[in-house]
């Protein structure tokens, strides 16, 4: 043992994995990153078919369509396709998030050609059988039913409805509501596929133990015959509710904890303030040693953990502070979170806080890309958000360049105390009165289905 703290040695250079971008003759984008560490490879197809493409009343269609891709394809029914895929020791994970549909798999590199052929079948020739559409709809309805008893999911869903205007796509769950999902048909799924899945709207990312030239040849052979063009427009999904704080209590009688979300509409991923906002949020609530976590957890012992974050999307996703606190300190915890958000806008952060945030974000950068799946996801984001080709090479310098002034500027420009919506999933009989006494804004109480309770 020794009292003297070790000093760091000389740091070794790190480079984000090299990659090549190609476009096949039919318009399909191709990104290839050779990573020869272990004998595995990740294939990730990104299609411009995210939930923002859902039309009003059809919320959930993009997710359902993406999930249907792996329910039978290339002349196989769902059971046969699953067998062929899993025999290779992999599984096709097909789903959609807000921004895109993502179809991904990780496989031992010796099985890459067979895996790519199956991925091509799934994207180019899905069967979309009516029976499986009905089954996936029923599974989504079961998931929604379970959500009613799941405080975290309920809190997230309530915050979305509180911060986004009615009718904005972001106000409703990515997978759709009971009402919208019930109305989806096999014809709608086929229509969504026909409109959205075409080579010009798809990028295939291949990261792992494979050579660029071989992957390129393989992609041309398996995807080269695909034809078609994408149709359809996207309505603005991120309109916000009127300014003014409001408190939304979802009652869960007898709940031992209150699940809290405190937030408002944030900014899009491509906003020029991205780096100062990321650093600002790290200090506010983005890492363990952040202000919100140290205050609520380590000073007060109110919670197991408290965080804040901007949900980065093509349009403006939500910003939220979130935590779960024991029921009797609900109002105290809300007061502390509001205090920390205000404080962030009032005075510059201390040099030690700034250096902690920037050296953390700088230092963990290589740790984020240890796996083929992580590298593939990073490259997909590059394509999705139209980031420059050297984005990952300049990331660390961009983080280090953020100053206390820019953090203060980012807090003042992008934290809006007057717009905060407060969601509390907990025992309304116990938390309502203390929250009303705080006079944050009008308090409404609803049941777990969102129906108002007087």
């Amino acid at each position: 043992m020794t009292a003297a703290r070790p000093l760091p040695g000389e740091s070794r250079p790190y480079a984000f994995p090299r990659f090549e971008r190609r476009t096949l003759s039919n318009g399909l984008g191709l990104v290839i990153a050779p990573l020869p560490k272990l004998p595995v490879v990740t294939l990730l197809a990104l299609a411009d078919a995210g939930a923002v493409t859902d039309r009003p009343g059809e919320e959930g269609l993009a997710v359902l369509t993406a999930r249907m891709l792996s329910e039978g394809a290339g002349g196989r029914d769902g059971t046969a396709l699953t067998e062929d895929v899993e025999r290779l020791g992999t599984a096709i994970d097909a789903s959609a998030d807000w921004d895109a549909a993502l179809v991904r798999l990780t496989v031992l590199s010796s099985r890459l050609p067979e895996a790519m052929a199956l991925l091509a079948d799934v994207l180019m020739a899905p069967a979309l059988p009516a029976r499986e559409v009905e089954r996936l709809k029923a599974e989504r309805l079961a998931e929604l039913l379970q959500l009613r008893a799941e405080p975290r999911g309920l809190a997230d869903e309530t915050l979305d409805r509180a911060v986004y205007a009615a009718g904005a796509r972001y106000a409703l769950p990515v997978g759709g509501t009971e009402h919208s999902v019930s109305s989806l048909t096999p014809e709608a799924v086929a229509g969504c596929y026909a409109a959205r899945y075409h080579p010009g709207a798809v990028t295939l990312v291949v990261a792992g133990d494979a050579e660029t030239a071989a992957v390129e040849r393989l992609a041309e052979t398996t995807f080269g015959t695909w034809r078609g063009v994408t149709r359809g427009e996207i309505a603005n999904p991120d309109r916000r509710t009127p300014d003014g704080r409001r408190v939304h209590v979802v009652t869960k009688p007898g709940a031992p904890q209150s699940e809290l979300r405190i937030g408002h509409v944030g900014i899009p991923r491509t906003h020029p303030d991205y780096f100062p906002v990321v650093v600002m949020n790290a200090i506010l609530g983005g890492v363990f040693s952040s202000r919100i976590n140290l205050n609520l957890r380590e000073v007060h012992g109110y919670t197991y953990g408290a965080h804040s974050g901007f949900d980065w999307r093509r349009w403006a996703g939500p910003f939220a502070a979130e935590t779960a606190v024991q029921q009797d300190v609900t109002a105290d915890a809300v007061r502390e979170v509001l205090f920390e958000i205000d404080r962030m806008r009032e005075t510059p952060v201390a040099p030690s806080e700034l250096s902690l945030a920037t050296s953390y974000l700088d230092g963990v950068f290589p740790i984020r890309f240890e796996t083929t799946d992580a590298v593939a996801t990073a490259l997909a984001n590059l394509v999705l958000y139209g980031l420059p080709g050297d984005y990952y090479d300049s990331y660390r310098a961009n983080v280090r360049a953020v100053t206390a002034d820019r953090v203060l500027g980012a807090a003042r420009a992008h934290l809006h105390p007057d717009r905060l919506q407060l969601v509390v999933v907990g025992d309304a009989d116990r938390v309502r009165a203390p929250l009303e006494r705080m006079a944050i804004g009008p308090v409404t109480v609803a049941d777990d289905r969102g129906e108002p309770i007087a």
């Binding site: 405080p151 031992p256 904890q257 380590e298 963990v364």
Partner: protein
């Protein structure tokens, strides 16, 4: 694929593994202490885990919350976790900061107690009580694992009680308990240190010797109560748990051969045939074909002592009763037991397991954790390279024989969660026992 590794042991008993990979300038440090909830004394359930929290509260030369801050400032990630028979602490950091991570681990292994205060204990007790509320009490099916421990092991067995513990026992924990637990279990001869990534023996060994070398050996752990349980339950067990859930869920548990033993691999493959991914029996039959389940999976718990527990975990579709769900799951198990499994099913299962295992080892943290695990349980970190061959060697005949011997009615415990219909059913977690 072969993960390289080298080992050495300090004079105080600390066993060390080093696994080189210079792909990126990062290194994982991982410490396994061979102590978990099984070592807790009566009236102190949850103590091993509360103690894990206290290890982040500083040590002789490290201030409160400084452990987290120093690692994060160095550009690293870190955490710890508590299991029935081990507690681990780990960091992944830029490789030029290896010294810092080792120094921090050594300072708290050697000199934790000077930093312990009543106030820190009180705060962490509140944090852990909130962890319990968050992950167990206020979460649908959140009590499942502690109830599986209860139903899976007899009351006198060290695995019977909850890892996170009861609120009452957490309240009773004192600074004296901290001191005696530390002296007994947090000793170099009861730990394994693994270093994986951009480091080699030449640089790592002197650092380990410098920081850990002077920590005294322990005076020996007290023996655990007997871990032995009968290989099978002997008779069917059943517990119905009314909970704040909307859909019934069945956890059907079987006692099975312990993790890493000769019989374990057939058990693990059988679990995968039954419930790993969508091509498994349970998913294909109950989710896709019969459509009575919303989700279905099966897995081993990987317990290395006493007995492992294989669990089939199936959630009903809306409108399907708990009893129907249970009958249908048992029918799938019976069918597998009666007719055995096919070569294709076994090769699907082991291929999925192999890919998952290999892909996970891409992360230095996972390589370090596996090396610590195999060194702690079996004294042989080299087992990290033996898992894939052992899985590949499992035959359909072995899995069929396993199912026949271990999945019978005499070795089943049903834990059945049902939606609580009225407040009269009692508080969350209260259950009616009928065997």
């Amino acid at each position: 694929m072969r993960i390289p590794y080298e080992t050495f042991r300090l004079a105080n008993g600390l066993f060390v593994t080093v696994s080189e990979d210079h792909t990126a300038p990062l290194v994982a440090v991982n410490l396994w202490y061979h102590v978990g909830s099984a070592n807790e004394r009566a009236g102190r359930t949850g103590f091993a885990h509360l103690f894990e929290h206290m290890l982040f509260q500083g040590s002789a030369h490290v201030g409160s919350n400084e452990h987290f801050e120093l690692i994060q400032r160095a550009g690293g990630t870190l955490n710890g976790s508590t299991w029935v028979d081990r507690t681990n602490y780990y960091e992944t950091i830029p490789s030029n900061q290896l010294g810092l991570a080792l120094w921090l681990e050594a300072d708290r292994m050697g000199q934790l107690l000077p930093a312990m205060t009543q106030q820190k204990l009180d705060t962490q007790r509140d944090v852990v009580k909130n962890e319990r509320r968050w992950s167990v009490d206020n979460q649908p099916y959140g009590t499942a694992w502690e109830k599986l421990q209860e139903i899976g092991f007899p009351p006198e067995h060290p695995f019977h009680h909850s890892i996170i513990g009861s609120m009452e026992d957490l309240s009773a924990a004192s600074l004296d308990d901290i001191a005696s637990f530390f002296a007994t279990y947090y000793t170099p001869d009861n730990a394994v240190l693994s270093i994986a990534g951009d480091a080699d023996l030449t640089t790592a060994r002197p650092l380990v010797e410098q920081y850990f070398g002077s920590i005294p050996r322990g005076s020996g752990r007290p023996p655990l109560p007997p871990m032995h349980v009968s290989a099978r339950f002997g008779s069917p067990r059943r517990q119905v748990v009314p909970d704040d859930v909307r859909l019934p869920r069945l956890y059907l548990a079987f006692r099975t051969p312990v993790f890493g033993s000769a019989g374990y691999y057939a058990a693990s493959v059988c679990g995968a045939v039954l419930g790993l991914r969508r091509g498994s029996r349970l998913h294909r039959t109950l989710v896709r074909e019969r459509q009575i389940a919303a989700d279905a999976m099966a897995y081993t718990s990987d317990l290395a002592k006493g007995s492992d527990i294989l669990v089939a975990d199936v959630t009903a579709r809306p409108g399907i009763s708990a009893e129907r769900l249970e009958d249908e799951v048992i029918a799938v198990v019976e069918h597998l037991r009666r007719d055995g499994v096919t070569e294709a099913e076994v090769s699907r299962a082991s291929a999925l397991i192999e890919t998952g295992y290999t892909a996970a080892l891409q992360e230095a943290a996972e390589r370090a954790d596996k090396l610590s695990q195999f060194a702690t349980y079996f004294g042989d970190p080299g087992l990290i390279n033996e898992q894939v061959p052992r899985y590949r060697a499992v035959t359909a005949a072995q899995v069929t024989a396993f199912a026949h011997e271990w999945l019978g009615e005499d070795n089943r415990a049903s834990l059945l969660y049902v939606p609580r219909e009225s407040p009269d059913d009692g508080p969350p977690g209260a259950g009616a026992n009928r065997e």
